[in-house]
Amino acid sequence: MAETLDLILERTLDAPVDLVWKAYTDPQHLKQWFAPKPYEVSECELDLKPGGIFRIRMVGPDGFDTGHGNAGCVLEVVEGKKLAWTSALGPSYRPAEMGEGCESFPMTAIVTFEDAGNGKTAYKAVALHKDARDRATHEQMGFQDGWGTTANQLEELAKALSVNA
């Protein structure tokens, strides 16, 4: 089951690996591309060491604002080669409070970079998600903001539904 909820993305990027690494991992650069327009990243912390913080605040012209944003945890850093982080943990590996909407389900991302020759870089990202119940919770929260219902109620519902799945 779990593997059907995982994502693998591979792409060859037309830039040398040191540039790619810098643009991907430096908060000042990350801010420039991370958010889908018209949203933008107003704050970003990324501490490149195991247990380091990874936090994004996103804002939009329509008043959208993730607020401080739940801080994720960096799991593994191999300079110029690999970055892994998760939203299931906070900085220093403390189990994370799950937030609302997009932050109500945990995810682990493993991104690797490799010199592909000719100034190009082979990029690979693996995103791991937990299970179908989280997914259902996520869908319901994400699509129905402002219900005024608690995540628990929704989770209960999702459980009831997945029993029958």
């Binding site: 059907t4 909820l5 994502l7 993305l9 792409r11 990027l13 037309d14 830039a15 540039l19 790619v20 643009a23 991907y24 430096d26 000042q28 650069h29 801010k31 420039q32 591309w33 991370f34 889908p36 990029y123 990202a125 995103a127 998600h129 179908a132 997914r135 259902a136 996520h138 869908e139 319901q140 699509f143 129905q144 219900w147 219902t149 109620q153 209960e156 519902l157 999702a158 459980k159 009831a160 539904l161 997945s162 029993v163 029958n164 799945a165």
Partner: protein, 116 residues
């Protein structure tokens, strides 16, 4: 966000406490319309309206035998793992597109390296 997609209808159907109550009940097994209506102090037409919303969202289906309409869950509506994962993929792909654009700007010197 999708407009009026099946997923949208699903979540619209879920956005009501009576309908969520009905779904919770159905999570324990099929039920007749009158069983479903019992916990709620609302009129039969209102109950039928809620059921219609649930049915058109695909969350439940019902069939009538004699005078009894039996309602059951249709789990596939929430089993849309593929669509969910497809959306996540689209987000990642779009982000990677932006990253590529940004890289090419950096390479061509269109963007100065932000001061660090």
């Amino acid at each position: 966000m999708l407009n009026d997609s099946p997923l949208d209808r699903t979540f619209q159907a879920l956005a009501d406490p009576v309908r969520r109550g009905m779904l919770s009940r159905l999570g324990r097994g099929p039920a007749s319309v009158s069983e479903l209506a019992k916990p709620f102090s609302i009129s039969l037409p209102a109950v039928l309206q809620h059921l219609q919303a649930l049915e058109s969202s695909g969350l439940v289906r019902s069939e009538k035998k004699g005078r009894v309409r039996t309602v059951r869950l249709e789990p596939s509506a929430l089993g849309a793992a593929e669509s969910w994962i497809a959306e996540r993929r689209a987000e990642w792909e779009a982000q990677l597109d932006r990253f590529e654009d940004y890289l090419s700007k950096l390479k061509n010197g269109e963007n100065e390296w932000p001061r660090l």
